[in-house]
Symmetry: C2
């Protein structure tokens, strides 16, 4: 296939590397000249085309890998230049606000959400096999040609593909992706509420792998966190409400010195996690 | 040195391996016959002595590696058999409730808290270099002979040693160790509050590395989590209170659609994390 990737950060760049390794021809685009330079220089893409002008007419697929709020504007800029048979997908972490206008703009649009990434951002972190073994949501039903082809794309880079509706996706990721960001960000912000400075500094010294893991996603890209909340607000607020209730229950058992009940809650947390992380 | 290790789980077993690799002679003890069997068979210890009976009179150091609520009862059982010059330390994650009775029971007692571990427990996970590069609190002042010698012990297995008072230690770990456990446990418990079962199952499928990291410490050993809360109750309740305030502020910005303010909070979380995890 000939594939165009618009937005060459960690996700777009890594995807370009994997697709080239699979024998596809990959062109790319980015708003930032230095990203284009790096992508061409390092062979992440073989050619560059600016957004909003001619693109290769043999392009089979365009993957929009910009930040969430750039996806629909980018699609709007390219539709005039797309050959009618070209498929378009995206990698945004919220799907309802993207899939509806996306389909209205382009008949061959299918939304995707590859759940991959790490602490880094930018093309210099692009790497092969970033997607290997990770889950990917594809919006639509298995058995529809276009949806199946997009599913195949993600499977080809090693992902576990799940077909679902946009609304279900957004509610599900509110729990497992957006809620963790807010819960983890609050941990980073809470620790500096310690008023005794030597104790606060001692905490910094003693923070170990448990703190590092729990605080990681909340210490990530603030713009991405804000966009997640903005585009999935209702589902995220619902999840935070439920989370606050559960945390209040844990606190109550500690306050009441109800140690048996606390241990039962922690036992339940232990078991539940296994359904999510096997 | 000749070292006795009482409690041969992940921490005790791994410490025995490191100390033997450094040329020390290590005997061990455990309540569980199968642990003793495994420890002797795999060479984690070179000899076994039961708790509450004679121990080798050339033992320089005893390290109590039992769960928190076993530390003082264990010390009480061994003091009658300890040579006067033998040093004793422990690895409990809370120090005030241990150091005061510990010193009353034994003049050569110094509390320690090596901040190492992983998701596993039990001697079968014992491994060399578990402590390498991790922080360790030693209760007392640098410059006191006994405290310095215990500090040297932890440095010899690769740890960064911090000397501090028990009360400061307990407040600091309430923030960076015990609060993360409760915050993370609440995340595991909250996700099953989703009433739409297909959405809940989709969440399980889509949970990726961000969820796995944030939920990890809250999905750990429930007994250990309960004992942390029990022995550090006041400091932990204070930390949870502050955490709840911060999370409520994040939720309020999302509810108010105050996106600039939310991004500023997330930016702050991003910067603060760097002081804890550099």
């Amino acid at each position: 296939m000939k594939v165009g990737i618009i937005g060459l950060g960690l996700i777009g760049g890594s995807l370009a590397l994997d697709l080239q390794a699979l024998g596809h021809r990959v062109w790319g685009s980015s708003r930032r000249p230095e990203t284009i330079h790096t992508a061409l220089e390092s062979g992440v893409i073989e050619a560059y085309f600016p957004i909003g002008s001619e693109i290769p007419q043999d392009t089979d697929l365009v993957i929009i890998c910009t930040p969430i709020d750039g996806i629909i504007p980018t699609l709007a800029q390219i539709v005039a230049y797309l050959p009618p048979s070209t498929m378009v997908t995206d990698v945004g972490s919220v799907k309802s606000p993207i899939v509806t206008p996306g389909r209205a703009l382009w008949h061959n649009f299918v939304g995707s959400h590859p759940m991959a990434g790490n602490n880094h951002s930018g093309i210099k972190w692009a790497q092969q096999n970033l997607f290997q073994g990770r889950p990917c949501a594809v919006i639509g039903k298995a058995g529809e040609t276009l949806t199946d082809r997009i599913g195949e794309l993600w499977r080809s880079v090693g992902m576990e593909v799940y077909f679902c509706e946009a609304e279900d996706h957004d509610r599900a990721v509110a729990w497992v992706s957006h809620l963790p960001v807010m819960v983890s960000a609050a941990l980073n912000l809470a620790c500096v509420q310690e008023q005794n400075i030597p104790v606060r500094i001692l905490g910094e010294k003693l923070a170990s792998s448990g703190f590092a893991d729990t605080s990681r996603v909340g210490g990530g890209n603030p713009e991405l966190g804000r966009m997640m909340a903005q585009s999935n607000r209702a589902a995220l607020l619902y999840a935070i409400d439920r989370y606050q209730e559960v945390l209040a229950e844990i606190k109550e058992q500690i306050a009441l010195e109800a140690w048996h009940e606390l241990e039962a809650l922690l036992q339940n947390a232990h078991h539940l996690r296994q359904s999510y992380c096997n």
